[in-house]
Protein backbone atom coordinates (compact mmCIF):
# COMPACT_ATOMS: atom_id res chain seq x y z
CA UNK A 1 0.00 0.00 0.00
CA UNK A 2 2.72 2.42 0.99
CA UNK A 3 4.75 1.62 -2.11
CA UNK A 4 1.90 2.41 -4.45
CA UNK A 5 1.61 5.70 -2.69
CA UNK A 6 5.22 6.68 -3.38
CA UNK A 7 5.01 5.62 -7.01
CA UNK A 8 2.10 7.86 -7.48
CA UNK A 9 3.82 10.84 -5.93
CA UNK A 10 6.89 10.40 -8.14
CA UNK A 11 4.63 10.29 -11.10
CA UNK A 12 3.12 13.46 -9.79
CA UNK A 13 6.52 15.14 -9.80
CA UNK A 14 7.22 14.43 -13.44
CA UNK A 15 4.12 16.15 -14.65
CA UNK A 16 3.79 18.91 -12.15
CA UNK A 17 3.97 21.50 -14.95
CA UNK A 18 0.52 20.46 -16.01
CA UNK A 19 -1.57 22.12 -13.36
CA UNK A 20 -4.89 20.32 -13.72
CA UNK A 21 -3.29 16.90 -13.71
CA UNK A 22 -1.32 17.84 -10.62
CA UNK A 23 -4.58 18.49 -8.86
CA UNK A 24 -5.82 15.09 -9.85
CA UNK A 25 -2.57 13.62 -8.56
CA UNK A 26 -3.04 15.46 -5.31
CA UNK A 27 -6.53 14.07 -4.91
CA UNK A 28 -5.37 10.57 -5.79
CA UNK A 29 -2.57 10.81 -3.23
CA UNK A 30 -5.01 11.97 -0.56
CA UNK A 31 -7.36 9.14 -1.44
CA UNK A 32 -4.61 6.60 -1.08
CA UNK A 33 -3.57 8.11 2.23
CA UNK A 34 -7.14 7.80 3.47
CA UNK A 35 -7.47 4.22 2.27
CA UNK A 36 -4.20 3.30 3.92
CA UNK A 37 -5.12 4.99 7.19
CA UNK A 38 -8.56 3.40 7.19
CA UNK A 39 -7.18 -0.10 6.67
CA UNK A 40 -4.64 0.41 9.44
CA UNK A 41 -7.33 1.87 11.68
CA UNK A 42 -9.54 -1.17 11.17
CA UNK A 43 -6.65 -3.48 12.06
CA UNK A 44 -5.79 -1.42 15.11
CA UNK A 45 -9.41 -1.28 16.22
CA UNK A 46 -10.20 -4.96 15.87
CA UNK A 47 -9.36 -6.04 19.45
CA UNK A 48 -11.42 -3.15 20.75
CA UNK A 49 -14.37 -4.34 18.73
CA UNK A 50 -13.76 -7.87 19.93
CA UNK A 51 -13.76 -6.75 23.54
CA UNK A 52 -17.15 -5.09 23.09
CA UNK A 53 -18.89 -7.96 21.31
CA UNK A 54 -17.38 -10.52 23.68
CA UNK A 55 -18.76 -8.56 26.59
CA UNK A 56 -22.26 -9.02 25.18
CA UNK A 57 -22.12 -12.78 24.53
CA UNK A 58 -23.27 -15.62 26.72
CA UNK A 59 -20.50 -17.81 28.10
CA UNK A 60 -21.70 -20.69 25.90
CA UNK A 61 -21.50 -18.57 22.79
CA UNK A 62 -18.14 -17.24 23.83
CA UNK A 63 -16.76 -20.75 24.09
CA UNK A 64 -17.96 -21.85 20.64
CA UNK A 65 -15.19 -23.32 18.53
CA UNK A 66 -16.15 -21.10 15.61
CA UNK A 67 -16.23 -17.60 17.07
CA UNK A 68 -19.22 -15.47 16.11
CA UNK A 69 -18.67 -11.91 14.91
CA UNK A 70 -21.95 -10.63 16.18
CA UNK A 71 -23.61 -11.85 19.38
CA UNK A 72 -26.63 -14.08 18.74
CA UNK A 73 -28.38 -12.54 21.69
CA UNK A 74 -27.22 -9.46 23.52
CA UNK A 75 -26.46 -10.07 27.18
CA UNK A 76 -26.46 -6.62 28.66
CA UNK A 77 -26.83 -8.27 32.04
CA UNK A 78 -23.11 -9.07 31.80
CA UNK A 79 -22.51 -5.42 32.64
CA UNK A 80 -24.78 -5.57 35.65
CA UNK A 81 -23.00 -8.76 36.74
CA UNK A 82 -19.62 -7.16 36.30
CA UNK A 83 -20.67 -4.27 38.51
CA UNK A 84 -22.04 -6.48 41.25
CA UNK A 85 -19.29 -9.13 41.23
CA UNK A 86 -16.14 -7.06 41.24
CA UNK A 87 -15.61 -4.28 43.69
CA UNK A 88 -15.17 -1.86 40.82
CA UNK A 89 -15.44 1.40 42.72
CA UNK A 90 -12.61 0.53 45.11
CA UNK A 91 -10.44 -0.92 42.36
CA UNK A 92 -10.98 2.16 40.30
CA UNK A 93 -10.24 4.54 43.14
CA UNK A 94 -6.98 2.74 43.98
CA UNK A 95 -5.86 2.74 40.38
CA UNK A 96 -6.60 6.43 39.96
CA UNK A 97 -4.78 7.35 43.17
CA UNK A 98 -1.72 5.32 42.25
CA UNK A 99 -1.84 6.42 38.62
CA UNK A 100 -2.16 10.14 39.29
CA UNK A 101 0.37 10.40 42.11
CA UNK A 102 2.96 8.28 40.36
CA UNK A 103 2.48 10.18 37.10
CA UNK A 104 3.00 13.57 38.75
CA UNK A 105 6.04 12.51 40.76
CA UNK A 106 7.46 10.67 37.81
CA UNK A 107 7.08 13.70 35.55
CA UNK A 108 8.94 15.91 38.04
CA UNK A 109 11.80 13.46 38.37
CA UNK A 110 11.95 12.86 34.63
CA UNK A 111 11.96 16.55 33.72
CA UNK A 112 14.72 17.38 36.19
CA UNK A 113 16.89 14.46 35.12
CA UNK A 114 16.34 15.01 31.41
CA UNK A 115 17.21 18.67 31.86
CA UNK A 116 20.43 17.77 33.64
CA UNK A 117 21.37 15.38 30.86
CA UNK A 118 20.36 17.65 28.01
CA UNK A 119 21.48 21.07 29.14
CA UNK A 120 23.97 20.84 31.95
CA UNK A 121 27.59 19.86 31.71
CA UNK A 122 29.10 17.87 34.52
CA UNK A 123 31.83 15.35 35.05
CA UNK A 124 30.84 11.80 34.20
CA UNK A 125 27.64 12.82 32.42
CA UNK A 126 28.09 10.47 29.49
CA UNK A 127 29.21 7.61 31.67
CA UNK A 128 26.21 8.09 33.90
CA UNK A 129 23.86 8.27 30.96
CA UNK A 130 25.29 5.13 29.40
CA UNK A 131 24.95 3.47 32.80
CA UNK A 132 21.30 4.46 32.97
CA UNK A 133 20.66 3.05 29.53
CA UNK A 134 22.39 -0.15 30.56
CA UNK A 135 19.94 -0.66 33.44
CA UNK A 136 17.10 -0.96 30.94
CA UNK A 137 18.72 -4.02 29.46
CA UNK A 138 18.39 -6.45 32.32
CA UNK A 139 15.06 -8.28 32.30
CA UNK A 140 13.04 -6.76 35.13
CA UNK A 141 11.82 -10.15 36.32
CA UNK A 142 15.13 -10.71 38.02
CA UNK A 143 14.70 -7.54 40.05
CA UNK A 144 11.54 -8.86 41.61
CA UNK A 145 13.14 -11.19 44.15
CA UNK A 146 15.51 -8.52 45.45
CA UNK A 147 13.02 -5.66 45.33
CA UNK A 148 10.49 -7.74 47.19
CA UNK A 149 12.99 -8.25 49.99
CA UNK A 150 13.75 -4.53 50.01
CA UNK A 151 10.15 -3.35 50.33
CA UNK A 152 9.43 -5.97 52.97
CA UNK A 153 12.32 -4.68 55.02
CA UNK A 154 11.12 -1.11 54.57
CA UNK A 155 7.71 -2.22 55.84
CA UNK A 156 5.99 -0.97 52.72
CA UNK A 157 3.89 -4.02 51.96
CA UNK A 158 0.20 -3.32 51.37
CA UNK A 159 0.56 0.45 51.10
CA UNK A 160 0.17 2.87 48.23
CA UNK A 161 3.85 3.69 48.62
CA UNK A 162 4.94 0.29 47.45
CA UNK A 163 2.85 0.67 44.31
CA UNK A 164 4.19 4.14 43.53
CA UNK A 165 7.79 4.58 44.62
CA UNK A 166 9.76 1.66 43.15
CA UNK A 167 8.83 2.56 39.57
CA UNK A 168 8.98 6.34 39.69
CA UNK A 169 12.19 6.54 37.72
CA UNK A 170 11.93 5.36 34.17
CA UNK A 171 15.08 5.52 32.15
CA UNK A 172 12.90 5.20 29.06
CA UNK A 173 11.16 8.49 29.81
CA UNK A 174 14.31 10.32 30.83
CA UNK A 175 15.87 9.27 27.56
CA UNK A 176 12.79 10.25 25.58
CA UNK A 177 12.55 13.68 27.15
CA UNK A 178 16.28 14.30 26.86
CA UNK A 179 16.00 13.64 23.12
CA UNK A 180 13.24 16.21 22.99
CA UNK A 181 15.09 18.80 25.09
CA UNK A 182 18.12 18.47 22.85
CA UNK A 183 16.00 19.78 19.99
CA UNK A 184 15.49 23.10 21.73
CA UNK A 185 18.21 25.40 20.35
CA UNK A 186 21.09 26.09 22.72
CA UNK A 187 20.85 29.77 21.96
CA UNK A 188 17.59 30.02 23.87
CA UNK A 189 19.22 28.69 27.02
CA UNK A 190 22.33 30.83 26.67
CA UNK A 191 20.23 33.89 26.04
CA UNK A 192 18.17 33.14 29.12
CA UNK A 193 21.37 32.81 31.12
CA UNK A 194 22.58 36.18 29.92
CA UNK A 195 19.24 37.62 31.02
CA UNK A 196 19.83 36.10 34.43
CA UNK A 197 16.86 33.74 34.18
CA UNK A 198 17.01 30.93 36.73
CA UNK A 199 17.20 27.37 35.46
CA UNK A 200 13.88 26.32 36.93
CA UNK A 201 12.12 29.33 35.48
CA UNK A 202 13.65 28.61 32.11
CA UNK A 203 12.54 25.01 32.42
CA UNK A 204 9.01 26.03 33.29
CA UNK A 205 8.67 28.86 30.79
CA UNK A 206 10.52 27.48 27.77
CA UNK A 207 11.44 23.81 27.90
CA UNK A 208 8.17 22.42 29.26
CA UNK A 209 5.85 24.22 26.86
CA UNK A 210 8.07 23.21 23.97
CA UNK A 211 8.03 19.57 25.02
CA UNK A 212 4.37 19.36 25.94
CA UNK A 213 3.50 16.66 23.38
CA UNK A 214 6.23 14.42 24.74
CA UNK A 215 5.22 15.11 28.33
CA UNK A 216 1.66 14.17 27.51
CA UNK A 217 2.84 11.00 25.82
CA UNK A 218 4.73 10.15 28.99
CA UNK A 219 1.63 10.86 31.06
CA UNK A 220 -0.40 8.50 28.91
CA UNK A 221 2.20 5.76 29.09
CA UNK A 222 2.56 6.14 32.82
CA UNK A 223 -1.19 6.03 33.39
CA UNK A 224 -1.44 2.93 31.24
CA UNK A 225 1.33 1.43 33.31
CA UNK A 226 -0.80 1.80 36.43
CA UNK A 227 -3.72 0.39 34.49
CA UNK A 228 -2.00 -2.72 33.23
CA UNK A 229 0.51 -3.47 35.99
CA UNK A 230 -0.15 -6.88 37.39
CA UNK A 231 2.71 -8.96 38.74
CA UNK A 232 4.23 -6.47 41.16
CA UNK A 233 0.95 -5.16 42.66
CA UNK A 234 -0.27 -8.69 43.18
CA UNK A 235 2.90 -9.54 45.02
CA UNK A 236 3.13 -6.57 47.34
CA UNK A 237 -0.36 -5.12 47.77
CA UNK A 238 -3.07 -7.61 47.00
CA UNK A 239 -5.29 -6.65 49.92
CA UNK A 240 -8.74 -5.29 49.17
CA UNK A 241 -7.89 -1.78 50.30
CA UNK A 242 -5.03 -1.41 47.83
CA UNK A 243 -5.79 -3.81 44.99
CA UNK A 244 -5.46 -2.36 41.50
CA UNK A 245 -7.80 -2.81 38.59
CA UNK A 246 -6.09 -5.49 36.48
CA UNK A 247 -5.56 -7.64 39.54
CA UNK A 248 -9.15 -7.21 40.53
CA UNK A 249 -10.42 -8.04 37.05
CA UNK A 250 -8.21 -11.07 36.61
CA UNK A 251 -9.63 -12.94 39.56
CA UNK A 252 -13.09 -11.64 40.22
CA UNK A 253 -14.89 -13.61 37.56
CA UNK A 254 -13.66 -17.12 38.14
CA UNK A 255 -16.36 -19.66 38.74
CA UNK A 256 -16.05 -22.36 41.36
CA UNK A 257 -13.72 -24.55 39.35
CA UNK A 258 -11.33 -21.75 38.51
CA UNK A 259 -12.67 -21.11 34.99
CA UNK A 260 -13.10 -17.49 34.08
CA UNK A 261 -16.43 -16.07 32.95
CA UNK A 262 -14.85 -14.19 30.06
CA UNK A 263 -17.88 -12.25 28.80
CA UNK A 264 -18.47 -10.73 32.22
CA UNK A 265 -14.78 -10.06 32.56
CA UNK A 266 -14.80 -8.31 29.20
CA UNK A 267 -17.78 -6.27 30.31
CA UNK A 268 -15.81 -5.18 33.35
CA UNK A 269 -12.83 -4.33 31.19
CA UNK A 270 -15.09 -2.24 28.96
CA UNK A 271 -16.62 -0.46 31.96
CA UNK A 272 -13.25 0.54 33.37
CA UNK A 273 -11.91 1.46 29.95
CA UNK A 274 -14.64 3.97 29.35
CA UNK A 275 -13.51 6.72 31.78
CA UNK A 276 -10.00 6.24 30.49
CA UNK A 277 -11.26 6.72 26.99
CA UNK A 278 -12.81 10.04 28.03
CA UNK A 279 -9.56 11.12 29.63
CA UNK A 280 -7.87 10.37 26.34
CA UNK A 281 -10.27 12.46 24.32
CA UNK A 282 -9.56 15.25 26.76
CA UNK A 283 -5.78 14.83 26.59
CA UNK A 284 -5.81 14.74 22.82
CA UNK A 285 -7.03 18.34 22.85
CA UNK A 286 -4.01 19.22 24.93
CA UNK A 287 -1.69 17.52 22.52
CA UNK A 288 -3.12 19.78 19.83
CA UNK A 289 -2.71 22.84 22.06
CA UNK A 290 0.86 21.93 22.85
CA UNK A 291 1.48 21.58 19.17
CA UNK A 292 0.08 24.92 18.19
CA UNK A 293 1.97 26.64 20.98
CA UNK A 294 5.27 25.07 20.03
CA UNK A 295 4.51 26.03 16.43
CA UNK A 296 4.34 29.70 17.36
CA UNK A 297 7.35 29.82 19.60
CA UNK A 298 9.70 27.41 17.84
Amino acid sequence: MAKKNTDLIMHDKDIRAVKGKARIGEIAAKTLIYIFLTVMAVIVLFPFYWMIISSLKSLEEYRLTVPTFWPKTFHFDNYANAFSTANLATLFKNTVIVGVISTILSLVITVLSAFAFARLEFKGKNVLFAGLLATMMIPGELFTITNYATVSQLGWKSTYTVLIVPFLVSVFYIYLLRQNFLQVPNELYLAAKVDGTKDLKYLWKVMIPLSLPTLISITILKMMGAWNSYIWPRLVANDLAHRLITNGLRNAFQDTSGNTDYPVQMAAVAIVSFPLFLVFLFLRKYIMKGVSRSGIKG
Partner: protein, 338 residues
Protein backbone atom coordinates in the same frame (compact mmCIF):
# COMPACT_ATOMS: atom_id res chain seq x y z
CA UNK B 1 35.55 3.88 16.16
CA UNK B 2 37.53 7.06 15.74
CA UNK B 3 34.42 8.60 14.36
CA UNK B 4 32.75 8.35 17.74
CA UNK B 5 35.57 10.27 19.29
CA UNK B 6 35.38 13.01 16.68
CA UNK B 7 31.68 13.40 17.07
CA UNK B 8 31.95 13.55 20.81
CA UNK B 9 34.64 16.18 20.70
CA UNK B 10 32.56 18.23 18.37
CA UNK B 11 29.53 17.89 20.60
CA UNK B 12 31.49 19.01 23.56
CA UNK B 13 32.73 22.19 21.98
CA UNK B 14 29.16 23.06 21.10
CA UNK B 15 27.65 22.30 24.48
CA UNK B 16 26.29 25.18 26.55
CA UNK B 17 28.08 24.34 29.78
CA UNK B 18 31.36 25.01 28.07
CA UNK B 19 30.96 28.70 28.88
CA UNK B 20 34.14 30.53 29.75
CA UNK B 21 33.16 31.65 33.20
CA UNK B 22 34.67 29.13 35.68
CA UNK B 23 32.25 30.11 38.47
CA UNK B 24 29.21 29.30 36.40
CA UNK B 25 30.80 26.01 35.45
CA UNK B 26 31.40 24.80 38.98
CA UNK B 27 27.91 25.86 40.00
CA UNK B 28 26.46 23.92 37.06
CA UNK B 29 28.34 20.82 38.07
CA UNK B 30 26.89 20.92 41.56
CA UNK B 31 23.41 21.79 40.31
CA UNK B 32 23.20 18.89 37.89
CA UNK B 33 23.65 16.41 40.70
CA UNK B 34 20.87 18.06 42.71
CA UNK B 35 18.55 17.65 39.75
CA UNK B 36 19.56 14.05 39.36
CA UNK B 37 19.44 13.22 43.06
CA UNK B 38 15.89 11.81 43.31
CA UNK B 39 16.36 9.67 40.23
CA UNK B 40 19.72 8.40 41.40
CA UNK B 41 18.56 7.50 44.90
CA UNK B 42 15.61 5.52 43.60
CA UNK B 43 17.69 3.81 40.95
CA UNK B 44 20.32 2.84 43.51
CA UNK B 45 17.71 1.15 45.69
CA UNK B 46 15.42 -0.43 43.12
CA UNK B 47 17.67 -1.04 40.12
CA UNK B 48 21.36 -1.01 40.99
CA UNK B 49 21.04 -3.10 44.11
CA UNK B 50 19.00 -5.81 42.33
CA UNK B 51 21.62 -5.88 39.59
CA UNK B 52 24.37 -6.37 42.16
CA UNK B 53 22.31 -9.12 43.74
CA UNK B 54 21.84 -10.73 40.32
CA UNK B 55 25.60 -10.73 39.86
CA UNK B 56 26.01 -12.39 43.22
CA UNK B 57 23.43 -15.07 42.44
CA UNK B 58 24.97 -15.78 39.06
CA UNK B 59 28.24 -16.70 40.73
CA UNK B 60 26.70 -19.12 43.22
CA UNK B 61 26.36 -22.48 41.51
CA UNK B 62 22.71 -23.56 41.20
CA UNK B 63 21.63 -20.87 43.65
CA UNK B 64 18.02 -21.22 44.76
CA UNK B 65 16.53 -18.71 47.21
CA UNK B 66 14.15 -21.30 48.66
CA UNK B 67 16.99 -23.66 49.44
CA UNK B 68 18.97 -20.75 50.83
CA UNK B 69 16.15 -20.13 53.31
CA UNK B 70 16.23 -23.83 54.09
CA UNK B 71 19.87 -23.49 55.07
CA UNK B 72 21.62 -24.80 51.95
CA UNK B 73 24.86 -23.19 50.84
CA UNK B 74 26.23 -22.83 47.36
CA UNK B 75 29.58 -23.18 45.75
CA UNK B 76 31.20 -20.13 44.21
CA UNK B 77 32.14 -20.37 40.55
CA UNK B 78 31.36 -19.89 36.90
CA UNK B 79 29.44 -23.12 36.41
CA UNK B 80 26.10 -21.34 35.93
CA UNK B 81 27.46 -19.60 32.87
CA UNK B 82 29.02 -22.69 31.33
CA UNK B 83 25.81 -24.67 31.95
CA UNK B 84 23.69 -22.05 30.23
CA UNK B 85 25.94 -21.79 27.20
CA UNK B 86 26.31 -25.55 26.80
CA UNK B 87 22.55 -26.09 26.98
CA UNK B 88 21.56 -27.73 23.66
CA UNK B 89 18.69 -25.33 23.03
CA UNK B 90 20.62 -22.18 23.90
CA UNK B 91 21.55 -21.42 20.30
CA UNK B 92 17.99 -21.92 19.13
CA UNK B 93 16.67 -19.62 21.85
CA UNK B 94 19.19 -16.94 21.01
CA UNK B 95 18.47 -17.32 17.28
CA UNK B 96 14.71 -16.87 17.67
CA UNK B 97 15.23 -13.84 19.89
CA UNK B 98 17.53 -12.17 17.39
CA UNK B 99 15.36 -13.05 14.40
CA UNK B 100 12.30 -11.47 16.01
CA UNK B 101 14.35 -8.45 16.96
CA UNK B 102 15.84 -7.66 13.57
CA UNK B 103 12.52 -8.14 11.77
CA UNK B 104 10.03 -6.43 14.04
CA UNK B 105 11.97 -3.28 14.91
CA UNK B 106 12.48 -1.99 11.34
CA UNK B 107 9.01 -3.04 10.20
CA UNK B 108 7.16 -1.45 13.09
CA UNK B 109 9.27 1.72 12.98
CA UNK B 110 8.74 2.18 9.25
CA UNK B 111 5.02 1.47 9.47
CA UNK B 112 4.58 3.82 12.42
CA UNK B 113 6.52 6.52 10.58
CA UNK B 114 4.34 6.21 7.49
CA UNK B 115 1.14 6.28 9.52
CA UNK B 116 2.31 9.31 11.48
CA UNK B 117 3.30 11.20 8.35
CA UNK B 118 -0.01 10.33 6.69
CA UNK B 119 -1.92 11.45 9.78
CA UNK B 120 0.00 14.68 9.74
CA UNK B 121 -0.74 15.27 6.06
CA UNK B 122 -4.54 15.18 6.15
CA UNK B 123 -7.19 17.56 7.43
CA UNK B 124 -10.71 16.02 7.40
CA UNK B 125 -11.09 13.12 9.85
CA UNK B 126 -7.63 13.89 11.23
CA UNK B 127 -8.83 14.09 14.81
CA UNK B 128 -11.03 11.07 14.41
CA UNK B 129 -8.26 8.90 12.98
CA UNK B 130 -5.77 10.12 15.56
CA UNK B 131 -8.17 9.10 18.29
CA UNK B 132 -8.49 5.66 16.76
CA UNK B 133 -4.76 5.17 16.70
CA UNK B 134 -4.61 6.10 20.38
CA UNK B 135 -7.47 3.76 21.27
CA UNK B 136 -5.42 0.60 21.75
CA UNK B 137 -4.13 2.21 24.93
CA UNK B 138 -7.50 1.85 26.56
CA UNK B 139 -7.89 -1.72 25.37
CA UNK B 140 -6.81 -4.00 28.14
CA UNK B 141 -4.09 -6.49 27.34
CA UNK B 142 -6.36 -9.36 28.47
CA UNK B 143 -8.58 -8.66 25.46
CA UNK B 144 -5.78 -8.31 22.93
CA UNK B 145 -4.15 -11.65 23.65
CA UNK B 146 -7.42 -13.52 23.27
CA UNK B 147 -8.27 -11.89 19.96
CA UNK B 148 -5.01 -12.72 18.26
CA UNK B 149 -4.99 -16.33 19.33
CA UNK B 150 -8.55 -16.71 18.03
CA UNK B 151 -7.70 -15.09 14.71
CA UNK B 152 -4.95 -17.50 13.73
CA UNK B 153 -6.20 -20.60 15.49
CA UNK B 154 -7.38 -23.54 13.44
CA UNK B 155 -9.89 -25.61 15.37
CA UNK B 156 -10.04 -29.24 14.43
CA UNK B 157 -7.91 -32.33 14.46
CA UNK B 158 -5.66 -32.11 11.54
CA UNK B 159 -2.66 -33.69 9.95
CA UNK B 160 -3.54 -32.89 6.39
CA UNK B 161 -5.29 -36.19 5.76
CA UNK B 162 -8.85 -36.18 4.48
CA UNK B 163 -10.64 -37.87 7.35
CA UNK B 164 -9.96 -35.13 9.83
CA UNK B 165 -12.44 -32.48 10.78
CA UNK B 166 -11.38 -28.89 10.52
CA UNK B 167 -13.99 -26.88 12.30
CA UNK B 168 -12.74 -23.40 11.79
CA UNK B 169 -9.66 -22.32 9.91
CA UNK B 170 -9.64 -18.95 11.67
CA UNK B 171 -10.44 -15.47 10.42
CA UNK B 172 -7.07 -14.93 8.78
CA UNK B 173 -7.35 -18.12 6.76
CA UNK B 174 -10.93 -17.30 5.83
CA UNK B 175 -9.74 -14.00 4.44
CA UNK B 176 -6.87 -15.65 2.60
CA UNK B 177 -9.38 -18.09 1.14
CA UNK B 178 -11.56 -15.21 0.07
CA UNK B 179 -8.76 -13.33 -1.67
CA UNK B 180 -7.20 -16.33 -3.34
CA UNK B 181 -10.59 -17.52 -4.50
CA UNK B 182 -9.89 -20.96 -3.11
CA UNK B 183 -12.23 -21.66 -0.23
CA UNK B 184 -10.21 -24.57 1.05
CA UNK B 185 -6.96 -22.64 1.07
CA UNK B 186 -5.45 -22.34 4.50
CA UNK B 187 -2.10 -22.05 6.18
CA UNK B 188 -1.39 -23.81 9.43
CA UNK B 189 -0.21 -20.82 11.42
CA UNK B 190 0.18 -21.85 15.00
CA UNK B 191 -1.29 -25.32 15.48
CA UNK B 192 0.33 -28.71 15.74
CA UNK B 193 2.40 -29.43 12.67
CA UNK B 194 2.87 -25.78 11.66
CA UNK B 195 6.19 -24.64 10.27
CA UNK B 196 8.71 -22.46 12.04
CA UNK B 197 8.36 -19.84 9.30
CA UNK B 198 4.61 -19.47 9.72
CA UNK B 199 5.02 -19.31 13.51
CA UNK B 200 7.54 -16.51 13.10
CA UNK B 201 5.28 -14.63 10.67
CA UNK B 202 2.44 -14.70 13.20
CA UNK B 203 4.78 -13.48 15.91
CA UNK B 204 6.05 -10.65 13.71
CA UNK B 205 2.52 -9.52 12.95
CA UNK B 206 1.54 -9.64 16.59
CA UNK B 207 4.65 -7.89 17.88
CA UNK B 208 4.46 -5.18 15.21
CA UNK B 209 0.79 -4.66 16.02
CA UNK B 210 1.63 -4.36 19.68
CA UNK B 211 4.47 -1.93 19.09
CA UNK B 212 2.62 0.35 16.67
CA UNK B 213 0.54 2.55 19.00
CA UNK B 214 3.50 3.48 21.18
CA UNK B 215 5.64 4.35 18.18
CA UNK B 216 2.89 6.32 16.49
CA UNK B 217 2.37 8.26 19.68
CA UNK B 218 6.05 9.16 19.99
CA UNK B 219 6.60 9.92 16.30
CA UNK B 220 3.41 11.92 15.95
CA UNK B 221 4.37 13.87 19.06
CA UNK B 222 7.73 14.61 17.48
CA UNK B 223 6.27 15.36 14.08
CA UNK B 224 3.94 17.96 15.49
CA UNK B 225 6.79 19.89 17.00
CA UNK B 226 8.57 20.11 13.63
CA UNK B 227 8.47 23.69 12.51
CA UNK B 228 5.90 24.10 9.73
CA UNK B 229 8.09 26.74 8.05
CA UNK B 230 10.41 24.05 6.76
CA UNK B 231 7.53 22.50 4.91
CA UNK B 232 6.33 25.84 3.61
CA UNK B 233 9.82 26.47 2.26
CA UNK B 234 9.93 23.05 0.64
CA UNK B 235 6.56 23.66 -0.96
CA UNK B 236 7.72 26.98 -2.38
CA UNK B 237 10.83 25.30 -3.78
CA UNK B 238 8.64 22.70 -5.37
CA UNK B 239 10.36 19.83 -3.57
CA UNK B 240 8.59 16.52 -4.11
CA UNK B 241 6.89 14.74 -1.23
CA UNK B 242 9.35 11.89 -1.20
CA UNK B 243 12.27 14.30 -1.07
CA UNK B 244 10.57 16.33 1.64
CA UNK B 245 10.06 13.14 3.61
CA UNK B 246 13.70 12.10 3.46
CA UNK B 247 15.27 15.56 3.60
CA UNK B 248 13.08 17.28 6.19
CA UNK B 249 10.80 14.88 8.03
CA UNK B 250 13.27 12.09 8.76
CA UNK B 251 16.15 14.37 9.86
CA UNK B 252 13.83 16.48 12.03
CA UNK B 253 12.39 13.35 13.59
CA UNK B 254 15.72 11.61 13.96
CA UNK B 255 15.91 11.96 17.77
CA UNK B 256 12.49 10.33 18.07
CA UNK B 257 13.36 7.66 15.53
CA UNK B 258 16.58 6.94 17.36
CA UNK B 259 14.57 6.63 20.53
CA UNK B 260 12.01 4.17 19.17
CA UNK B 261 14.68 2.11 17.44
CA UNK B 262 16.98 1.85 20.45
CA UNK B 263 14.20 1.12 22.91
CA UNK B 264 12.65 -1.18 20.31
CA UNK B 265 15.81 -3.24 20.14
CA UNK B 266 16.11 -3.37 23.91
CA UNK B 267 12.47 -4.44 24.16
CA UNK B 268 12.88 -6.86 21.28
CA UNK B 269 15.66 -8.73 23.01
CA UNK B 270 13.37 -9.01 26.01
CA UNK B 271 10.46 -10.42 23.97
CA UNK B 272 8.51 -12.95 25.98
CA UNK B 273 4.94 -12.12 26.89
CA UNK B 274 3.83 -11.75 23.28
CA UNK B 275 4.83 -15.35 22.62
CA UNK B 276 2.96 -16.52 25.71
CA UNK B 277 0.01 -14.51 24.39
CA UNK B 278 -0.13 -16.56 21.19
CA UNK B 279 1.34 -19.91 22.09
CA UNK B 280 0.79 -20.09 25.84
CA UNK B 281 3.33 -21.14 28.42
CA UNK B 282 4.62 -23.92 26.21
CA UNK B 283 6.28 -21.30 23.97
CA UNK B 284 5.61 -23.23 20.79
CA UNK B 285 2.91 -25.00 18.80
CA UNK B 286 1.44 -28.17 20.27
CA UNK B 287 3.88 -31.00 19.65
CA UNK B 288 6.89 -28.73 19.47
CA UNK B 289 6.93 -26.88 22.74
CA UNK B 290 9.73 -24.42 23.34
CA UNK B 291 10.36 -23.96 19.64
CA UNK B 292 9.80 -20.21 19.92
CA UNK B 293 11.36 -19.82 23.32
CA UNK B 294 13.29 -16.59 23.77
CA UNK B 295 16.04 -15.52 26.13
CA UNK B 296 13.64 -14.10 28.69
CA UNK B 297 11.49 -17.22 28.46
CA UNK B 298 14.62 -19.24 29.07
CA UNK B 299 15.37 -17.11 32.14
CA UNK B 300 11.82 -17.56 33.38
CA UNK B 301 12.06 -21.32 33.02
CA UNK B 302 15.09 -21.38 35.25
CA UNK B 303 14.00 -18.79 37.79
CA UNK B 304 11.95 -21.22 39.89
CA UNK B 305 14.34 -24.07 40.16
CA UNK B 306 17.66 -22.42 39.62
CA UNK B 307 17.96 -18.70 40.23
CA UNK B 308 21.74 -18.91 39.82
CA UNK B 309 21.41 -20.12 36.26
CA UNK B 310 18.61 -17.63 35.56
CA UNK B 311 20.88 -14.82 36.74
CA UNK B 312 23.71 -16.05 34.56
CA UNK B 313 21.41 -16.16 31.53
CA UNK B 314 20.18 -12.66 32.35
CA UNK B 315 23.72 -11.35 32.46
CA UNK B 316 24.51 -12.97 29.13
CA UNK B 317 21.43 -11.30 27.68
CA UNK B 318 22.52 -8.04 29.28
CA UNK B 319 25.89 -8.31 27.57
CA UNK B 320 24.27 -8.87 24.19
CA UNK B 321 21.86 -5.97 24.57
CA UNK B 322 24.66 -3.74 25.79
CA UNK B 323 26.70 -4.40 22.67
CA UNK B 324 23.71 -3.86 20.36
CA UNK B 325 22.79 -0.64 22.14
CA UNK B 326 26.32 0.71 21.97
CA UNK B 327 26.30 0.05 18.22
CA UNK B 328 22.91 1.77 17.98
CA UNK B 329 24.12 4.76 19.96
CA UNK B 330 27.24 4.96 17.84
CA UNK B 331 25.18 4.95 14.64
CA UNK B 332 22.74 7.51 15.96
CA UNK B 333 25.56 9.77 17.13
CA UNK B 334 26.64 9.93 13.50
CA UNK B 335 23.17 10.23 12.03
CA UNK B 336 20.91 12.00 14.46
CA UNK B 337 20.49 15.72 13.95
CA UNK B 338 19.79 17.82 16.97
Amino acid sequence: MNAVKDVKVKNKSKSPGGSKNPIVRSFDKWKAWIYLLPAIILLLIFTVWPIINTLRMSMLVNYNPMKAVGGATFKFGFENFTKVVSYPKFKQVLGTTMLLCVTTVPISTMLALIISVCLNAIKPFKRFLQTIFFLPYVTNSIAIGMVFAAMFNIVGSFLGSSNEAIQSAGIINNMLGFFTGNKDFYINWINAGSSYTSNIIVMIIYIVWNALPFKILILLGGLQSVNKQYYEAAKVDGTSRVRTFWRITVPMLSPMIAYVVITGFIGGFKEYSSIVGIFGDSMGPAGDAGRLNTMVGFIYDAIDSNAGRASAAALILFGIILIVTLINLWVSKKRVHY
